[in-house]
Amino acid sequence: MALFIDVEVDPKVAADSELARKLVEVCPVNIFALGKQDKLEVVEKNLDECTLCELCLAVAAPGSVKVKKLYGEREVLVRRE
């Protein structure tokens, strides 16, 4: 169970295998993995390793990936245009 970070991915993005591969590739701490039919899965046990590098936000469309801090002001990191 993650205590500090949660990641929310738009289901449409998760179903896009090309984008899913990109997210798996860019994350330095393996928060994303490819599941059945190359569908994106979030690896729960790695969520707290998130370094807040925002690379996942950079490769996905604005608003489709959100990184949520579960502490402090509960800030949500999201790419905006």
Partner: protein, 402 residues
Amino acid sequence: MRFYEFEAKQLFSKYGIPLPAGSRVAHSPEEAATIAEEIGGPVVLKAQVLTGGRMKAGGVLFADTPSEAAHAAEKILGLVIKGHVPRGVLVEARAPVEQEYYLGVTWDGFARLPVMVFSDMGGIDVEEVAEKHPEHIAKRHFSTIYPFSDYMAKELIASLGVSGTNLLRLTHIAAQLARAFRNHSLTLAEINPLARLKDGRFVCLDGHVDLEDDARESQRQILQELGIDPAEKRQARPPTEFEIRGAEIDASDPRGVAGNVVEFDGDLGLIIGAGGGSLTLFDAIRKHGGRPANYCEIGGNPSVAKTCALTKLILSKPGVKKIAVMMNVVSNTRVDLVARGVIKGVLECGYKPSEKIAIFRIPGSWESEGFKILKDYGVDYCDRTVSMYEAAGRAVAKMREG
């Protein structure tokens, strides 16, 4: 890296420092008997262990004949001395000693120079001589840049009133010891006792050599000549189960360091780091009257999982009441990631971080993010405006509060 006595003596021998006749290692009673036969007289047999207290433990025995030597070697090889199994038995001639001296070269941390120490009272701890008979001790610093000249040794030895042939013989030994120290990046080269025999010759009866750990690579050649594997870890005692588990945690994840665990018998778990900073913090805890339960380094940005596992290990040690998480100012370790790992570890052990973490003092990269996490969990934290010494004091005060 500590050398066994027989290795130290082999090194001394390469520098022309005289040893008792024989002076070879036996790994079986038969071998011991053969060496004793070659010596052809009374012998002393000594367990080769990297710890003191051999004599008390029965690790030093005397024999007059080869069969007695075999019997003694059998006894010694069956011993376990302070957890150490003898690597062999050093067999050498038992020399008729007229007088014992002390000769050593080590580092003087205050002067930042090597220092040669000579005493005409050998065979006992040099610290004891220094305390009770300071007039029997002579010291001299020397340069790491310029070659060591014989006259430096001669002056030192002569200052205690040694003269004539004795002075000449001792000068050679002392100068060669200093050269061995410098040439091989040693941190200690000691002969105690250095014995003058009844016939006037000097021999090294016992030797102690420590090599700077970081010099293993540059000293590969001499280590190979002495039959020492440079990768071999020479520890003063075997690691405990707790320490082995710490090493396993460190090895399980290549990200950063979270290990180098050394166990003590106190009640305050220490997650500390920053090179010399960790030693400073350990000393500061002791200075404030605290009792460390362990010395446990972190650094180089360990993963949250690794820090968490290490925290759980520390809390699993019986007697640990609280933990202190302290480092010097860090640039290569993220404060927020360490905070996450420690808090997660505490929670997974079923404790409240606010009660179990005595102090969290890691100023540096991403500290404001880390402080948000610590604040959320009610952990007492501080930034760089609180010195390491003060932080250690706060941790000890928390321990006293209970």
